[in-house]
Symmetry: C2
Subunit: 216 residues, 2 copies
């Protein structure tokens, strides 16, 4: 095998479709998810090559509908990391009139985190508190952001249309998602347990956006 | 359980150390990797919560040394995606005199990809061809970038100090990494098979940078 034996390159716009076809074939029907939910889970597998996600993704019953409606209405998407923001391309958001924002590096957020001895992710959630009504909140990294969101909801803060709850890791990640799934009372798409990540949070938004764009 | 039961928050600068301690405990010695290699693999697990990576990460024997030397010398880090670039924070690179570049959205790269009917990742690798000597090239998404790099190496192009070969996915990802590992003749850190991703490529650079910063 050499680089040349892999020629001809597949045309760029067919690579994704080929990948989806492979995933479809390796997870034959009847699948644990259908319709829009399967489109999302398939893109999560495409992003991670991790079929174990089949066992951990969980949807609020109105999640797909709520996420699509928010995007169709031109909502703001807030992300907890610049990585997640970078993973949601403008070419998908612009036709919907949507924008993607990450407040993590805003000077007032950095200053507040330092002053309070907390994470920037948590301080960013405080800065976003009044702006979250009707938005999509995509969290792929910071349990502290998700926990802070739920504190805001408990205290009557505006509710996002959809929470993509996918913080990854070993300290409070699984716990924060368990609370989201069991108690938050807001439409969510989550990955239970330790797994998650910025590309998965971004992929969830991208899958929803693709479904909306197809209907236009 | 409620958000409040998770209080007190861990101080932000202890979360990472706590996570590493958990991973250390769950992968007790003797480990499949030691020293600098374990520091990198541990950070990959930290980034993904995927212990399966223990079975797939592979190091060129001089990879850690070569990567650390390049960073200590203030090399450029090229990434194949904006997500990977966003995952390598300036706070780690600046003290080393290193910069991180992603050429994917440069207008000449976008135009070349369109004209040639190829991926922007491949066109970006063409744009970077003459600049790669002594750099670290971190590929977390595009097999076409990694394949194009190896074509450039075959035709005598300048060699990076280290290739982080971690494209993810179903079309040529595993194949491109197999060629890198078996034939490329350049120091590499790779994830065999389908798994990989921008955060993993970024985490590899971050782990190397942390080791260099500690020696300063």
């Amino acid at each position: 095998m050499s680089p040349t034996t892999l020629q001809p390159y597949f045309a760029p716009d067919t690579i994704e479709a080929r990948s989806f076809a492979i995933i479809d074939a390796e997870v034959p029907a009847p699948r644990p998810f259908e319709g829009g939910e399967w489109e999302i889970v398939r893109r999560l597998i495409h992003t991670s090559a991790d079929f174990d996600l089949l066992n951990h993704v969980v949807f609020h019953p109105r999640a797909v509908e709520a996420g699509m409606a928010a995007l169709a209405a031109g909502c703001t998407v807030f992300t907890d990391t610049e990585m997640a923001r970078a993973g949601i391309p403008v070419r998908r958001m612009e036709p919907l009139g949507c924008t993607v924002q990450c407040l993590l590096n805003r000077p007032d957020v950095v200053a507040a985190a330092k002053e309070q001895g907390t994470t920037r992710a948590r301080a960013a959630m405080d800065a976003a508190r009044g702006l979250l009504g009707g938005c999509i909140l995509a969290i792929g990294n910071a349990p502290t952001a998700l926990i802070r969101l739920m504190e805001h909801l408990e205290s009557g803060g505006p509710a996002p249309a959809l929470v993509v709850g996918m913080p990854v890791g070993f300290v409070n990640a699984a716990e924060s998602k368990a609370i989201l799934v069991e108690q938050a009372g807001v439409p969510f798409i989550a990955i239970r347990g330790r797994k998650g990540g910025s590309p998965l949070a971004a992929a969830t938004v991208n899958a929803l956006a693709e479904m909306v764009l197809r209907q236009k």
